[in-house]
């Protein structure tokens, strides 16, 4: 069980800042996910924590002990961590048993204890009965379980996971997410998970860290990040959204009225996250497609009610994905899969002021 503190971590590759003044505190037993597009520096950060990369500046502290700084870097093997890689990195010349027992043999534990612990971790990762197989006789999912068991068996202070599910097929990936979460909850092991897949981060993590160009854009629970995105980047990276650019025309204590560049007038309720914008300031309004209501007939609302036209419709099984034209804006709207509207049909559209999120333009 361990606490990890990252203070002002900076790492440059040439001119590129892979980690730029990155600071984060991770609690004992917490499961944190670093999310971001490729090249955002999430893997670099993780590899700094593992000790594979020397930081240019800043510190990484494990339970009050500095393990990485500009001056001193503790080698990976002395950090008592474990890591699961995207490539599985299961050793092909060792059996499943030998893969898992390797870390324990390094610690010179008695044979019987090695056996007990290997067996327990086989059970935990649902690999029982496969201990004498070689990795090439296993499926991708089983190999990744071996990698996980190999890490867990040494009872690490911190578990690092670098896109562990990216090489698996969709169905297996979804199943493994829940298994990973379950195991982490059972062992209460401090875990740091890197992924470019925001849905994966939402399923797995207690807290999500959205990274962009080496910096942290936002930290929060899945709900925070999704509903109260703090930046244009977070809003568009996490899920899909409509981004409307405009200017504040009127303002009172709990509402602003924004006129978008393409002619929509929108009332937006004051939220908790971002700074409430002033009159005449430029803002960006984010509206999630499923927060918009559309009806073929008039909806009884005083504000934020618009008349529009269906431009495009796509049936996606669990929902309809419409493009609705209002004034000169085209908005993406998702409705239940039973709300069928024809292309070119006139519709009434309502946007709840409380479900709009304002961002800095």
């Amino acid at each position: 069980m361990a606490k990890v503190r990252i203070k002002n971590l900076t790492k440059k590759f040439g001119e590129v800042r892979a980690a730029d003044n990155f600071s984060l505190d991770i609690d004992e037993g917490e499961f944190v996910a670093l999310v971001g597009p490729s090249g955002c520096g999430k893997t670099t950060t993780l590899r700094c924590i593992a000790g594979f990369i020397d930081p240019d500046d800043g510190e990484i502290i494990l339970n009050d002990r500095v393990i990485s700084s500009k001056k001193f870097v503790l080698p990976p093997e002395q950090r008592n961590m474990a890591m699961v890689f995207q490539s599985y990195a299961v050793w092909p010349h060792k059996t499943v048993y030998k893969n898992i027992s390797f870390g324990l043999e390094l610690r010179k534990l008695p044979k019987s204890e090695v056996r007990d612990r290997v067996m327990r971790s086989l059970e935990l990762t649902k690999l029982k009965g496969l201990e004498n197989r070689y990795p090439n006789e296993l499926s991708g999912g089983q190999q990744q379980r071996v990698a996980l068991a190999r890490g867990l068996v040494v009872e690490p202070d911190v578990l690092l996971l670098d896109e562990p599910l990216s090489n698996l097929d969709a169905i297996l990936r979804e199943e493994m997410r829940f298994d990973l979460r379950e195991i982490q909850q059972k062992l209460k092991i401090t875990s740091i998970y890197v992924t470019h897949d925001q849905t994966e981060a939402m399923v797995i993590a207690d807290r999500i860290v959205v990274m962009n160009q080496g910096r942290i854009d936002q930290i929060g629970s899945a709900e925070d990040i999704y509903h109260s995105s703090k930046s244009r980047f977070v809003a568009s990276f996490v899920g899909t959204t409509n981004l409307l650019k405009g200017m504040v025309q009127r303002k009172d204590e709990s509402f602003v009225e924004v006129r978008t560049e393409k002619g929509m007038v929108l009332r937006v309720k004051k939220g908790e996250g971002n700074e409430f914008p002033d009159i005449d300031s430029d803002v960006l309004i984010s509206v999630r497609p499923e927060s918009i209501e559309i009806e073929p007939s008039r909806i009884e609302k005083a504000h934020n009610l618009y008349k529009g036209k269906v431009v495009q419709k796509t049936f996606l099984g669990s929902f309809y994905d419409y493009r609705i034209k209002v004034e000169k804006e085209v908005l993406r709207v998702q409705t239940s899969s039973h709300k069928h509207l024809e292309v070119d049909a006139e519709v009434w559209m309502y946007i709840d002021p409380g479900l709009c999120n304002y961002l800095k333009a």
Binding site: G51, I53, D54, R79, W91, F102
Partner: protein, 566 residues
């Protein structure tokens, strides 16, 4: 990705800095750098210490030397031409047509590549020698004539025999590209209405051209560097090449400086062509392979398949079957020349060379000892350098890489010249001992081990090592427990390659051996000069047998791709 920490070894003791680097550097200095420097130095200073390029100018001024230079070029160019004439059509035939016996032809092409060419040359003397060559005799009897069909002791004879043993470079290079080429490129041409012949010439041939040129360069370089064939077929008739002329210069009266100067054109030509191959052709070759596995379209030849098959079988017969059969017959004869009857056959020659002939016993042991040690040391050193180069970030990696592949560009005779310059006098007096042979073998063949290890390590994902580090293994431990076991196939294949080629090495040995340190190839050469043909043939058969056993073993270990390296 930067991996600063992989270099940090045991606590307080930097294993890379204090063990790996010194070993790699010492090896490179002893084996490659020092000999080459000494050779270059030797070629520009007179024994009195006067500096100048007169020894180079002599190559053009002295008729004998220039003739040797010209002969080498003529032989290499024509042998390359014949290699193209045989290798390309054969590659196409086994890869893209429906002729039978494809595997037979492929395997025999591999056999001719691992056959020591000077054994082929000796065998051909018995077939095409001007007086008693079996084919010449047969020709005279059949046509009641005194005209000789073909005299193998000639420039043409040398060209012919060399071509039989260098064409596999073209063949294997071309065939492997044809095997792997995305045949949809050809299908597209067919769909547009091109005939199968037109497609072959207009689409396939240009696409395969880089591979063909690359194979031709290897054939050319091998033809240029060979010592045994021109020595056996040329020297007795006054026909000299660069390699045999160098050999001559080191005999009485020795002209060490001139020998060094004559070796340098060999090194330069080889170096330039290899750099060309690497820079220009290396890049062009991979574009053809799409990554999808598509079955190449097989052209149905109809009746034409019999002449095509005949051509392929003729080539492999001339290169392998006929000479091997000849050597076998001679090795089983009581006396060569008497009519071949059962009562004239004997195993006595094998008994003689194995149990009664001290020189062959001695050289067998020496060759085994040297090949075994050379392969082991070369693989060990190559492994250390490769790990240093690819798994640390310390200084000198580029330099070490260059030094490790440099011997590719140094023909055996030139390597021997360099070693003579470096190790014939104090402070490093290795000449006269078996160790100079060992050092030369390691130096000549270390690129094979280096390339095998390097390719192998490139395919090992760094994460395999990192996942050992993070759960508690030191850098050294992760290399020993994870990397080295995973490299096993590369190490074994490198070892076998070096063993095979060192076991029958002649080009460097002929200049570096001394009494009591004879090796097999030298003994065969001695037997040849003394006219002991039956014993020679028996010894040759044993060498071929051992070589083939190792080749077969290595194919088991590494599969088909093995055929591409020699």
């Amino acid at each position: 990705m930067v991996n600063g920490h992989l270099r940090r070894g045991l606590k307080g003791f930097d294993i890379v800095k204090w063990v790996l680097f010194p070993i790699a550097l010492t090896a490179v200095a002893i084996l490659i750098l020092f000999p080459l420097i000494m050779m270059f130095k030797g070629s520009v200073f007179t024994p009195e210490g006067k500096f100048g390029f007169f020894y180079f100018l002599n190559i053009f001024k002295q008729k004998v030397l220039f003739k040797a230079f010209r002969n080498s070029m003529v032989i290499a160019v024509w042998a390359t031409f014949l290699s193209l004439l045989t290798g390309v059509p054969m590659a196409w035939a086994v890869s893209r047509t429906d002729i039978p016996l494809k595997n037979f032809i492929r395997n025999l092409a591999l056999v001719s590549m691992v056959t020591p060419p000077f054994l082929g040359a000796i065998a051909w003397i018995f077939l095409l020698g001007p007086g008693a060559g079996k084919l010449n005799v047969l020709f005279k009897e059949l046509f009641h004539t005194k005209v000789t069909l073909f005299n193998v002791f000639s420039i043409e004879g040398i060209i012919f025999v060399i071509a039989m043993y260098v064409y596999p470079f073209v063949f294997i290079n071309t065939a492997s590209v044809l095997d792997n080429m995305d045949s949809s490129l050809e299908d597209a041409a067919n769909m547009l209405g091109a005939s199968k012949w037109k497609t072959a010439f207009k689409i396939t041939l240009p696409l395969v051209a880089p591979a063909i040129i690359s194979g031709a360069i290897l054939s050319f370089l091998e033809a240029l560097a060979l010592f045994g064939v021109p020595a056996v077929l040329g020297m007795s008739r006054g026909i000299f090449t660069l390699t045999t002329q160098i050999y001559q210069l080191f005999h009485y009266p020795p002209q060490f400086q001139q020998g060094a100067a004559l070796a340098i054109p060999l090194v330069v030509i080889t170096g330039v062509l290899l750099i060309f191959q690497y820079l220009y052709l290396g890049k062009k070759q991979f574009v053809l392979i799409s990554g999808k596995t598509t079955q190449p379209t097989i052209i149905k030849l109809g009746k034409a398949k019999w002449p095509v098959l005949g051509y392929c079988v003729l080539v492999v017969s001339l290169a392998v079957i006929v000479p091997y059969f000849m050597l076998l017959l001679i090795s089983l004869s009581k006396v060569w020349g008497v009519p071949l009857t059962l009562s004239n056959l004997t195993l006595h020659n094998f008994e003689f060379i194995l149990f009664h002939y001290r020189l062959s016993q001695k050289s067998f042991l020496n060759s085994f000892f040297l090949a075994f040690l050379a392969a082991t040391i070369a693989v060990f050193l190559a492994l250390i350098v490769v790990i240093y180069n690819k798994r640390t970030e310390n200084v000198g990696r580029g330099f070490l890489h260059f030094m490790m592949v440099l011997p590719f560009a140094i023909p055996g005779v030139a390597m021997a010249v360099a070693f003579l310059w470096a190790y014939i006098r104090p402070p490093f007096m290795l000449y006269g001992t078996i160790w100079i042979l060992l050092a030369a073998y390691v130096a000549r063949r270390i690129p094979l081990a280096y390339m095998a290890c390097s390719d192998g390590l490139t395919q090992i994902n760094l994460e395999l090592e990192e996942s050992a580090r993070i759960i508690g293994a030191s850098w050294f431990r992760s290399i020993m427990n994870i990397t080295v076991p995973l490299l096993k196939i590369s190490l074994v294949s490198g070892w076998i390659l070096i063993f095979i080629s060192s076991f029958r090495e002649i080009s460097a040995s002929i200049l570096l051996y001394s009494t009591n340190n004879e090796v097999i190839a030298v003994t065969i050469f001695t037997l040849f000069e003394e006219g002991e043909f039956e014993a020679l043939a028996a010894l040759s058969i044993l060498v071929l047998l051992i070589t083939l056993i190792f080749v077969a073993g290595s194919r088991k270990v590494v599969g088909k791709s093995f055929a591409q390296v020699s």
